[in-house]
C-alpha cells in the first residue's frame, strides 16, 4: 500500500473513532464502517484501530475473525449473501445458488477477479416466508428465481459503467 493511501486510511479511521467513540465498545461499529467502505480490514487498519482504542491488535483481529460480516479478507464491491437455511433451502435456494455461480463464473466463498462481486452464504436472514432470499450488500431480495439472478446482477453492474460514479445509488426493478 502506498504511504499516501495508508495516511488516508489512518485519518479516516481516526475520524470514525472521533464520531463513534474511542473506547472498546465502539470497536464493532468502527470495524463495520471500515469494512463497508474499504471491503477489507487489513492488518494496517487493525493496527490503527488497536492504537486508537488502546488495545492489542490481536484483540482486534480476534473480533474481526469472529463475525460473518467482518472478516479481514478482501471482498467485492457487491457482496451477495444467499440464505442457505431451511425454509429458503426448501423453496429452491440450490438453483439460485447454481445460477449465481454460472452468471459470475465463481464459486461460493470466492470474489470475481475484477473485485466487483463476492458470493457468500448467510444463515437465516428472516425472510423464511418469502424465500429464497438474498442480500446484496444491505439490500434484501426475496422470492428470487434463477431467472431473476441476471436482473439483480445487471442492476449492480450498471454502477460500474463508464460514466457511472462509484457512489451512484443502485436501482433495482
Amino acid at each position: 500500500m502506498l504511504m499516501t493511501e495508508r495516511d488516508r486510511l489512518a485519518s479516516e479511521i481516526r475520524s470514525l473513532a472521533a464520531k463513534l467513540g474511542q473506547d472498546r465498545t465502539s470497536l464493532i461499529p468502527i470495524l463495520l464502517e471500515v469494512k463497508r467502505k474499504y471491503h477489507t480490514i487489513d492488518s494496517y487498519a487493525m493496527q490503527v484501530i488497536a492504537d486508537l482504542l488502546g488495545i492489542h491488535p490481536v484483540e482486534v483481529n480476534s473480533v474481526v475473525s469472529f463475525y460473518a460480516f467482518l472478516g479481514g479478507h478482501r471482498q467485492g464491491k457487491f457482496v451477495i449473501r444467499l440464505c442457505r437455511t431451511i425454509s429458503c433451502d426448501m423453496q429452491g435456494k440450490s438453483r439460485v445458488e447454481r445460477q449465481l455461480e454460472n452468471d459470475l463464473g465463481i464459486r461460493f466463498g470466492e470474489t470475481t477477479p475484477d473485485g466487483k462481486f463476492t458470493l457468500e452464504f448467510a444463515n437465516c436472514m428472516g425472510m423464511c416466508d418469502q424465500g429464497p432470499a438474498l442480500l446484496v450488500n444491505d439490500r434484501i431480495h426475496t422470492r428470487v428465481t434463477p431467472e431473476k439472478v441476471h436482473e439483480i446482477l445487471e442492476a449492480c453492474r450498471r454502477v460500474f459503467g463508464v460514466h457511472a460514479a462509484e457512489t451512484k445509488e443502485v436501482v433495482f426493478k
Binding site: I28, S62, V63, F69, R84, C124, G126, C128, D129, L135
Partner: protein, 391 residues
C-alpha cells in the same frame, strides 16, 4: 379468531402514559400479574427479570432490546420492528422506568441493516414528541435509546454473548451466574428482552394485566406472535393465543397434510403428526415462535442436514461439547444419508447428543442436538440402510 382487541389495535403510548403515572414497583407488579414470559423462546418471567435489575444498586443500568433474530424460521421481530417500532420503543421506555435505567440499546442484527433508517426515523420522531429524552412527557423520567448493529453471528441472540459484542468482544457466552440483571453491559445491571416481549409489556401497561391474561393457559398467558414458513398454503406472521394445538395452527396456515412441524427453529423440536394434538405453550412445546411446516414429501435427513450445518457454522467454538459435538453429529448424519451407519454408532450419536445437552455452556450447544434426537426418535423408519440417491 377472537373478538378481543389484538396487538394491532393498540392505543398509541397508552402503556407509557400509564407507566409514567405509576411508581416502579407497581409497574413491575402489573407485568407480574399479567404472567408475561420471555417471547424470545426461553420463557423466563419478565417481571422477575425486571425485579432483579430494579433491586440491584448501581450508578447506571441498561435496557437492551434483543433484535438479533437469528433462529431459523423466525421473522416476527422483523415484522414487529417494521410495523410497530413505536410499540417496541415504548416498551423499552416503560422498562427503563421500571428498573431505573436511563439508557436503552436496540441490538439489531447485521442482516437487518436495511431496517436501520426507518428505526432511526422513529426514534427521532419520538424525541421530537418528548417520548424520549429528558423529562419524558413532563415526568421526571430521562431515557433515550440508541441502535447498535450486530455483525452477523447467531450466537449473539444469547444474552451474554450479545453483551460481549456490545462491549467490543467476540460473541462468546459468559458463565452464568452472574446474570446480566446484576452484572451486564459494562458490569452494570442490564435487562435483555426480546423485541416482542417489550412490545407486549407496553400493551399490558396500556390495557391492564387482566386483558393479557384473558387468553392463553394458566402457565402461558396471553398471545404470541408466530413466524410460519415451509410447506403450507399461507406462510407468514400470525398472532394466536398461547396453548393452541399444533393441529389448530396448521389448519389456520393451510398445512394440514404436514408430516411434521419443526417448532422453535433449528434449536427446537421436530413434532411428528401423531403429536399434533399437543399444545404450543411453555408447559408443553415451548417456542420463540418459529414454526416450519414439513410436508409429506420431505426427507427428514435433508432437514436435519441443513440444521446441523447451521450449528457447525454458528457454534462459537468456545466449549468442546458444542464445537466437536455438532461436527460429529453432522458426520454421523452424512453416514446415515449414505446408508453407512450402524445401529450401534447411531446409538453412540444419540448418547453424544445427550452429553451435549447437559455439558454445553450455553443454550446453543444445549439445544443443538434436539432436532437430531427427535428425528431419530420419531422417524426411525426413514433412517437406516438408505441407498444414496446422489452417488
Amino acid at each position: 379468531m377472537s373478538p378481543l382487541p389484538t396487538y394491532d389495535s393498540m392505543i398509541p403510548e397508552a402503556g407509557l402514559r400509564a407507566a409514567l403515572a405509576l411508581d416502579r414497583p407497581r409497574i413491575i407488579s402489573e407485568i407480574g400479574a399479567s404472567g408475561l414470559k420471555g417471547r424470545g423462546g426461553a420463557g423466563f418471567p419478565t417481571a422477575v427479570k425486571w425485579n432483579f435489575a430494579a433491586a440491584a444498586q448501581a450508578d447506571k443500568k441498561f435496557v437492551i432490546c434483543n433484535a438479533d433474530e437469528g433462529e431459523p424460521g423466525t421473522f416476527k421481530d422483523r415484522v414487529i420492528l417494521q410495523e410497530h417500532a413505536d410499540l417496541v420503543f415504548e416498551g423499552m421506555t416503560v422498562a427503563g422506568k421500571a428498573v431505573g435505567a436511563h439508557e436503552g440499546i436496540l441490538f439489531l442484527r447485521g442482516e437487518y441493516t436495511y431496517l436501520r433508517g426507518h428505526l432511526e426515523a422513529v426514534l427521532a420522531g419520538r424525541r421530537d414528541r418528548n417520548l424520549l429524552g429528558k423529562g419524558i412527557l413532563g415526568s421526571g423520567l430521562d431515557f433515550d435509546i440508541r441502535i447498535f448493529m450486530g455483525a452477523g453471528a447467531y450466537i449473539c441472540g444469547e444474552e451474554t454473548a450479545l453483551i460481549e459484542a456490545l462491549e467490543g468482544f467476540r460473541g462468546e457466552p459468559r458463565n452464568r451466574p452472574p446474570f446480566p440483571v446484576n452484572t451486564g453491559f459494562l458490569g452494570r445491571p442490564s435487562i435483555v428482552n426480546n423485541v416482542e416481549t417489550l412490545a407486549w409489556a407496553a400493551c399490558i401497561l396500556g390495557r391492564g394485566a387482566d386483558w393479557f391474561r384473558s387468553v392463553g393457559t394458566e402457565k402461558s398467558t396471553g398471545r404470541k406472535i408466530f413466524s410460519v414458513s415451509g410447506d403450507c398454503a399461507r406462510p407468514g406472521v400470525y398472532e394466536f393465543p398461547m396453548g393452541l394445538t399444533v393441529a389448530e395452527l396448521l389448519k389456520e396456515v393451510g398445512g394440514e397434510d404436514a408430516k411434521a412441524a419443526q417448532i422453535g427453529g433449528a434449536a427446537g423440536q421436530c413434532v411428528p403428526a401423531k403429536d399434533f394434538g399437543r399444545s404450543i405453550a411453555f408447559e408443553d412445546i415451548p417456542t420463540g415462535g418459529s414454526i416450519i411446516v414439513l410436508g409429506p414429501h420431505r426427507d427428514m435427513l435433508d432437514v436435519l442436514h441443513n440444521f446441523l450445518e447451521f450449528f457447525v457454522d454458528e457454534s462459537c467454538g468456545q466449549c468442546a461439547p458444542c464445537r466437536l459435538g455438532n461436527t460429529k453429529l453432522l458426520e454421523g448424519l452424512e453416514m446415515l444419508r449414505n446408508g453407512t451407519c450402524s445401529m450401534a454408532y447411531l446409538k453412540e450419536l444419540c448418547d453424544l447428543g445427550g452429553t451435549m445437552q447437559v455439558a454445553s455452556k450455553c443454550g446453543l450447544g444445549q439445544s443443538s442436538p434436539n432436532a437430531f434426537l427427535s428425528v431419530v426418535e420419531n422417524f426411525r423408519e426413514e433412517l437406516m440402510g438408505r441407498i444414496p440417491t446422489h452417488a
